[in-house]
Amino acid sequence: MNVPAPIQEPFDAAGFREEYLALAERIRVTMQTQVRAGPPQEDSFEALALDIFRFQCAHNPAYSNFCRSLNHGRLPEPGTWSEIPSVPAEAFKLAEIPVACFPPEQAQACFQTSGTTAGARGKHYFYSTDLYRDSVLLGWRELGLPELPTMILTPSPLDAPQSSLSFMMGVLAETWSPEEESFLVNAGGELDVAALEARCAEGSPFLLLGTALSFLHLCELPGQAPALRLPAGSFVLETGGYKGTGRALEKSALYSLMQNRLGVDPENIINEYGMTELSSQFYTVGPGKENQTHRGPHWVRARVRNPESGEPAEEGEAGFLEIFDLANLGSVAALSTRDLAVRRDGNSFELLGRDPRATPRGCSLSAGAFQDAQQS
């Protein structure tokens, strides 16, 4: 019942860099080999997952303290990836306890969760963004997503260095549109509609990426001209919700809006599930129905736990989603999210919408309702 007394350990810098680079190389080879070679090999995922766990425990004191606290003060010795303790995404918000295997000042990049008026922003430190870059690109290829020139409804990574989303979209832009300026939003948040219209007028298909909110704003531009219709064969990638904006729109409603206003075929709409706290992404393609399966590349695993007991849920059972991402080498590979989902096969899951029975029952103000009220 009681959590054991905390164990404080300093960062173990000795040997960190060599170990990090060696593991990063193994992960990269696994990603590349299996993208080329076809079906993934579970044993190599397992071996890497356990080696990464040992590495993260050795170099990330907050994580090893947490793991010990879950195991009567002793470091657990998992026999399989699914026994590796996951860290709640909430932990990335603790300024005084960085979730990192290295001192934050040595980070090449630090991505932050979007700011809200209530509560701190989560910080994900990256010793190197190389693995992140590989994961974005190789994941995209493995999942057979469209390799088209890009146009992007967010600021560029230069204007938004703390945004993992801008970085991720930047990787796709560098690869598929190396010669073009893909980012359509400036540092002040202004959208260059004329540039988008001009691109539409060229007539060749492209991939338009943005947050769900940015698409909503685009579709609501006053007096929208037919010039904003995307050329046939174009794809759209939307991601994220509307939290903190006071807006809400069912996914199916957003998709019909995009179909009507931008002329995009619903079969060509991709939804991305990503988190600042991760290095890999999950995608689902097609009409905006609820209950669609999000799939990730072979170096990630999804697992679902019963929210009452914390025990693993069976395939097809609902619970909270945990993700194991081999590419999250410098922080923690095992992350637990607040999202409710149903597990499908190994690296895919079905997100659940808000449970309608979960509306507040009484007149007591809950933490969630208070936060929503502060943001609206």
Binding site: M1, N2, V3, A5, P6, I7, Q8, P61, A62, N65, F66, R68, S69, L70, V87, P88, E90, A91, L94, E96, I97, R305, P307, E308, S309, G310, E311, A318, G319, F320, S336, R338, L340, L352, R354, D355, R357, A358, T359, P360, R361, G362, C363, S364, L365, S366, A367, G368, A369, F370, A373
Partner: protein
Amino acid sequence: MLTQERARHLAKAIKAFPILGSVSADDLVRLVTMELGHPGILDGFQEKGDIRTKATAPATILHIVSGNTAHAGLQSLVRGLLLGARNRCKIPSCGLPEIAQFQENLPGELAELVEIESDLPEDWLREADAVIVFGSDETVRQVRKKIRPHQKFVPHGHRISFGILFDDLSAKAAEDAARDVSVFDQQGCLSPHLFYVKAPSGSEAAAFAEQLAEAMEAFNRHTPRRALTSEEANEIMHLRSGYRFRAASDPSVRLWCSEDTTDWTVVYETDPAFAISPLNRFVFVKPLPDDLALHLRPVRAHLSSICLHPFSETEAVALSLLGASRICPLGRAQEPSLFWHQDGSASLAPLVDWIDLG
């Protein structure tokens, strides 16, 4: 039926509902006198200054009642019946059987003044002379939009309560605190989210948190919490996990919780910021800061009760400027007096109209 007679029948019906406390017919008549000025003011014209006046009850009161807080719904119905109004109760879809049970305990003439539905009929809102709503701020907002200018509107939106304990950190105090948190699974506006504890040292404050954890476990053994939705359980699981992560590296944070379930959770942390619970028996314990008023600022507009221990009028008066509308003894959070001013307002006076002679 005259006020006195209604009071007599109501007091009899109330006896079957211990959560309403001990209420006599005289108490009910006294409530009328206190709020409206005369025990017979609803029955005939009474002198007031140089005029004679009579209070008239709204013909129909619509009570929109939230789930899991039978107490508030029953008290509202009792007030409506005491006034002699017709009472239409919209109960939550998850049910609130106490309202119908109360109706069954009334004599025919009063029982006929009560109607109960779980789906709000359109004409109920239109036909009501007064609308009383209990629930989330969103529910209140939705109902408010539909209120017409001539209708009286009494909203009871989201509220937060907390406790303050000075020095006497006994097992009995922990037991009282656990009861205040656990009754109604923290769904009511009188349920404390947090206890600020004044103790000689942090370790004594933390020791109280541990005692509270034991009392929460004991309460749960005899009165288990209702089953939660996945989303509610997930909120608790996630928040617990975040505190467990912190506690592992930060000695100023500690966590106690039920094993293998989300039944109850106690978090101790030295950070004095007001912490809001995800509800369902999740409570915080923190050392009492010197600048409490500053830490209450973000929730001041939502404050309801402060559960004080040990209770003394001097101390309660000193706390009365913090923004709460009620300071009550620890252990009694969920049993407000018939005479209390819910959310700081009178309960009968806002509902009546007056006819003056002279």
